[in-house]
Structures are given as structure tokens and as C-alpha cells.
């Protein structure tokens, strides 16, 4: 509002969203030996009262949907909260039963914090499908079961974690140099040496290093059963043994400037493989938690 160049735009509060916080204890749920594949939040939508549905239908005959948004709540050290929208879907006031949300990104964010003792906090927000005063109040007729004994324990919110045991499905670290790599070899990193001095095109151009140690990823990965996943992500392929960590390669090269021959440092990013993992291609790209 203090900017001289930008006109001030006043806002009005339209949202009268109904928010609920869900807290899941995650202690020992995801040990380092387990890899998260998918996390699903299940909420049980209670039937909306028939009388209210009829009244709503008379007033808004064409609009019976509300929007339900799931956010991950990060509780920071200074006791302030930050929310990240994770998944959202339309919910009809007529439907009853379990409604699922893909909260894999939320669990991934929680893991990135590195504090396994902290619970996973999700916020359920039920709001108008469209922000406009003309739209219906369907969001006021959507209720989810809670842990309240009156709702019955069977219908309490559930978090389902699909994991893979890394002992079976992960990479094995370094390859055994004494055993030749075959199709049956479990994904591993194989040490290799790139001899830059032996390359004709690099002669008298790359001055240092003469070569370097790196790895390549070889072997195969055990495949999980895709039908167990609740959300069918498109383009999902099998797990492949690929490089998941790389390092840069600095070089000293000779270059010509007019008649002079000079030297220069060049850094080639992601050139050296340092870690191989079994990774599923086509998985949603997990975002990095920003400070």
C-alpha cells in the first residue's frame, strides 16, 4: 500500500471455509529402510441431513458441490505455521462414504524436515466451489467423520502409507567387482575410470585432471505391483536403476585468445555419478521444501 507506482486494490473476505486439523503420529511409520511410494488420506463423508439437502436444492438447483482442499501444515520452530496445498477435489452433498486424497507430497515434505518425532499435520478445508456470492452454500452441508466417539471409530480419518522395503526393492550400493553384472544383478554402482588422456579430441585441450573416478548404474530393480496403488499416476513405468546423485567435474582447459594460448577453469555440472537408486519413472516430481 506504500508503493507510489502500484494502485492499491482492496479485497473483501468471501471465504467462509470450514477448516479442520488432522494430526497423525508418524513415529516409526517410515524408517529409513522404507521408501514411500504413495500416501493416501481417507475421510469418511457423513450423509448430509435430508431436510437441509432439500432446502438447498430449492435455492440452488444446479449447484450441489463443495471444494475440499488438503494442505500440509508446517509447524516451524518459532511456533508459526505455514501451509502448503497438497490435493483438492469436488465433493457432492449427495455422496456418502470414503473420499480419498493423494497426500504423498505432504508426507514427502514431512520427511524432508528430518524430524521423525514430529507428527504429520494436515488441514482439511471445505469451501465454496467458486468464490462468488451467487454460488451455493453446499460447503456448509459437507461433514466428515472425526475421532469423536459419536461418529464411530471405524470412520475416523485414516492415513494409508504405501511403502517398499529397501532391502528388497532398493539399490545395493557398490557392485561386487568379483561378480560379473548380469540381468539378475541387483541395481548397484559400478566403479569406472574415465581416462581423459586417452581421448584424441581432448589432447592438448583438457590439461587437468588426466582422468577421474566415477560410477555407472547397472543391474535391475525389483518391480512392485502397481495395482496396489490407490492413485493411478499416468506414465508410471517400472523401477529403474538410475543415477540419483551426481557431482560436478572441474577441468582446466587450454583455449586460444588471438595468438595467445591461455588456461581456464570450466565446471561441468552433474558429470560424475555418485549414487544409484531404484526409482520409478513417471512418479509425481516431489517438490523441495524451501526454507
Amino acid at each position: 500500500r506504500h508503493s507510489q507506482t502500484i494502485a492499491e486494490i482492496m479485497g473483501r473476505f468471501f471465504s467462509d471455509a470450514f477448516n479442520q486439523l488432522l494430526v497423525f503420529s508418524m513415529k516409526d511409520r517410515l524408517p529409513p529402510t522404507k521408501e514411500l511410494i504413495q500416501a493416501v488420506l481417507r475421510l469418511f463423508k457423513k450423509p448430509s441431513p435430508q431436510g437441509e439437502i432439500k432446502r438447498h436444492h430449492k435455492m440452488f438447483p444446479f449447484n450441489s458441490y463443495a471444494s475440499v482442499t488438503i494442505s500440509w501444515v508446517q509447524i516451524r520452530e518459532n511456533n508459526t505455521n505455514r501451509t502448503f496445498v497438497i490435493d483438492s477435489r469436488r465433493v457432492s452433498i449427495h455422496e456418502t462414504g470414503w473420499i480419498t486424497f493423494d497426500v504423498t507430497q505432504a508426507v514427502n515434505y514431512w520427511q524432508q524436515q528430518g524430524e521423525m518425532a514430529k507428527p504429520l499435520v494436515l488441514e482439511v478445508s471445505i469451501h465454496r466451489e467458486n468464490i462468488s456470492p451467487l454460488f451455493s452454500n453446499a460447503h456448509k452441508l459437507v461433514y466428515f467423520s472425526s475421532q469423536n466417539p459419536a461418529d464411530g471409530k471405524l470412520y475416523a480419518p485414516q492415513l494409508e502409507l504405501q511403502t517398499l522395503d529397501m532391502k528388497e526393492y532398493g539399490a545395493q550400493g557398490n557392485c561386487n567387482p568379483d561378480i560379473p553384472v548380469t540381468e539378475a544383478t541387483r541395481c548397484c554402482r559400478r566403479e569406472t575410470y574415465v581416462n581423459l588422456q586417452g581421448l584424441k579430441w581432448a589432447e592438448n585441450w583438457i590439461l587437468d585432471p588426466p582422468g577421474f573416478k566415477t560410477y555407472d548404474c547397472v543391474g535391475s530393480c525389483q518391480q512392485p505391483k502397481k495395482e496396489h496403488l490407490n492413485f493411478k499416476w499416468p506414465f508410471l513405468s517400472g523401477r529403474q536403476c538410475i543415477a540419483t546423485d551426481t557431482a560436478s567435474l572441474p577441468l582446466i582447459v587450454a583455449h586460444k585468445e588471438g595468438d595467445k594460448t591461455l588456461t581456464k577453469v570450466v565446471i561441468l555440472h552433474n558429470m560424475k555419478v555418485t549414487k544409484c537408486s531404484c526409482t520409478t519413472e513417471g512418479m509425481p516430481v516431489m517438490k523441495k521444501l524451501k526454507p
Binding site: Y193, P209, A247, P250, V253, T274
Partner: protein, 56 residues
């Protein structure tokens, strides 16, 4: 494959279309200045695994 990747990456960074052909005599007499060497060593330290190196 990695050799091809290095060549492509080098050419792109140096805005060249082909690897330069430098005579051995030009390079033999070349002295790597201290600031170039220092920068190179510091970058090497930052990479997780230092390459095998030797004096040239």
C-alpha cells in the same frame, strides 16, 4: 557415453562448434597461473569425490 557428454558440455560452455586443435608445443610451454590452479583446487574440494590427479 560419458566421454561424449563431457565433450558436448565443454563445447556448449565454451561456445565452440568443434574441439580446438592445439599443438603440443603450445601446451608444453604453458604455465597454469596460480589463480587458475587455486580456483580449480577449491572446486575439486567441493565435489564429493576428488578425481585422481597428478602434476602436469
Amino acid at each position: 557415453k560419458i566421454e561424449e557428454k563431457i565433450q558436448e558440455s565443454l563445447l556448449r560452455q565454451l561456445h565452440l562448434t568443434a574441439a580446438p586443435v592445439l599443438a603440443k608445443t603450445e601446451v608444453d610451454n604453458l604455465v597454469i597461473p596460480d589463480h587458475v590452479r587455486t580456483k580449480y583446487i577449491s572446486l575439486m574440494k567441493h565435489t564429493s569425490e576428488a578425481p585422481f590427479s597428478r602434476e602436469k
